[in-house]
Assembly symmetry: C2
Homo-oligomer: 340 residues x 2
DNA sequence: CTGAAAGCGCTAACAA
DNA sequence: TTGTTAGCGCTTTCAG
């Protein structure tokens, strides 16, 4: 009579066991390959499985086993090649470990970040890799269940116990600016977005270090949000105010926006104004002139983070001390900075 | 006595109910906001929840409710801005619908694609959006459980019943080539990668259409895999063989590789050889000369796909007919094609 | 080597 | 308005 729900019933392990003429538990055993089952029985069960087109329900498995075999990843902006590459690398490592990755994105907002993390936790993820928003209001440590492995990317979380993967932002910026100064530019201006972010702040500090060392007055132009970096802002606050002899942009987004602004007002990058970008990207070598840049190892960010995460997941709480890996950056000298 | 497992116990709805002095079901009711519960009871339960720091276990929820509130997405290559933007858009729509997205990537390989889909299905996803590998061996239709909403992106799956979001590749390519021909170039060569892919094949067809119409002999250069598009290949098979008066690249990857090859052999894009790219990208407008391109609405791909998917998920099987949305492309005329 | 029975945390009939 | 009783599909003691 009641067709109702049963119509949509999917084959379960019980069905398999039934068909194979064994008990549920035995079927479970061959599914997991645990303990020893007679070869013949295994064959029977395997046969039943394929014959029925059985697919284990990972949700049920996870519920019982108290692990989801899933990790979460939250990034700020997937359109940014930095994030995209990191996600790609994490996904690959996860796959190699038999894990899936649940992807979330914060858009750079602390409250969304928090909500996404909550959601991920509700999903019983076994680990989390996160590229934190890093704004002052971004404090998610408290909502992380104790024992959940977390590794941060790009930015640390102040005073946290999470593992982290970073570069030396300050030093990298300093080296880049020092290079610019070897070309004897005096009025070198640094352009940054969201100066309250750790990475931006560090890079600014590095810029200052380099300028101070040469006893040149620092010229720093920052906007609170990318939407504010308009052509008008650029021409007023950078061009008119500083009449720069060289420019260093402190992030991918600021580079893109600055290049666009320069084009709009007819200033040629690297020719009229020497230029260096913190963050390298596909095509930087194909621009005219080619863009000099500080290259971050974007894929390594992801794979290192994932590696740390899975080590911790594997250690099952036995790994106590916090780990921090520092990745090397590379100053790629092309044409725009004045070399060549 | 037995502390054992209990140590790691997380607070469940039972605990909440207990603390609030109500039954499990009542607690469940306020959690889900279903049916009417007395305001005072609601308050009590809510209070208990926050006091206990309760977090619902979505795995358990999904197991019972037979839905995971998760969708899967599989793309070919996250590093490609096309994929990255599509994923981003899908993720946003999913979030707005209260769904999470499990991300997988095929790397362009049919067998990985298949495995990832299997894994996703085991995860009880409620829907799938996929940018199919599209090679002849990519036939995953059979492993999709009946009733699982699927929408394909970029490429269709031959003979499938899935909803799809596409552009008119053939027509877009034709229009682009026709534009090139208005500049009176005769020896226009098309460069493509993986010609067996639907999108590539269609674009080649469009190229042929345009050439045929003007009674010009088509010149098509394709490689089976991106690794084969080397500088040497380019100079032999494109330059020497055809001495092109203009080049159109049929995808983002081929554009990048071709630009790089041209740079290596000292040919200036757009100056020595007029150039047009199928696929626009960030920075195309900042190259010198700026690159003319066929622009695909990358974000719309994702958001439209997600929209279709959630409509179908919402319809709960009542939506029978297959839908196909065709997105508009835009021919962005900049400098490299010879305009200006 | 195999099986019976007890849940994982939650939702859903069906009463009360 | 609220509680009782079953399970979802699987793993896991603990016996046989």
């Amino acid at each position: 009579m009641a067709i109702s729900k049963k119509t949509h019933k999917s084959i379960t392990l019980v069905d398999v066991a039934h068909k194979a003429g064994v008990s549920l538990k035995t079927a479970s055993r061959v599914l997991n390959g645990t303990s020893t089952v007679k070869a013949k029985t295994v064959a029977k069960v395997r046969d039943a499985m394929t014959r029925l087109g059985y697919r284990p329900n990972e949700l049920a498995r996870g519920l019982k086993a108290r692990k989801s075999v899933a990790i979460g990843m939250v990034v700020k902006n997937l359109a940014d090649p930095f994030s995209a590459n990191a996600v790609k690398a994490v996904q690959e490592v996860a796959r190699a470990n038999g894990y899936i990755v649940i992807l979330a994105s914060s858009g750079g907002y602390a409250d969304i970040e928090r909500a996404e993390i909550e959601s991920l936790i509700g999903r019983q993820i076994d680990g989390l890799v996160i590229s934190p928003v890093g704004s002052p209001r971004s404090t998610f440590s408290e909502i992380i269940p104790s024992g959940l492995p977390v590794v941060t990317l790009d930015q640390p979380v102040q005073g946290s116990v999470f593992d982290s993967v970073m570069i030396d932002n300050r030093r990298s910026a300093k080296v880049a600016v020092q290079h610019l100064l070897t070309h004897n530019y005096q009025r070198v201006v640094a352009i940054g977005i969201r100066p309250y972010l750790y990475t931006c702040a560090e890079r600014i500090a590095g810029y200052r270090d380099a300028m101070r060392k040469e006893r040149i007055e620092p010229r720093i132009c920052v906007v609170e949000h990318e939407d504010l970096l308009t052509t008008q802002w650029f021409s007023e606050n950078v061009m008119n105010r500083h009449r720069p002899e060289a420019i260093i942009c402190l992030s991918w987004v600021s580079t893109i926006l600055t290049l666009r602004a320069m084009k709009t007002i007819g200033k040629r990058v690297g020719k009229d104004i020497p230029f260096l970008s913190f963050d390298d990207f596909e095509l930087a070598d194909l621009m005219t002139p080619s863009l000099s840049a500080v290259r971050q190892p974007t894929s390594a960010f992801g794979s290192e983070a994932a590696k740390l995460l899975f080590e911790r997941i594997g250690a099952d709480g036995k790994l106590k001390r916090q780990r921090a890996v520092l990745l090397e950056t590379e100053l790629i000298l092309r044409e725009s900075c004045g070399c060549v």
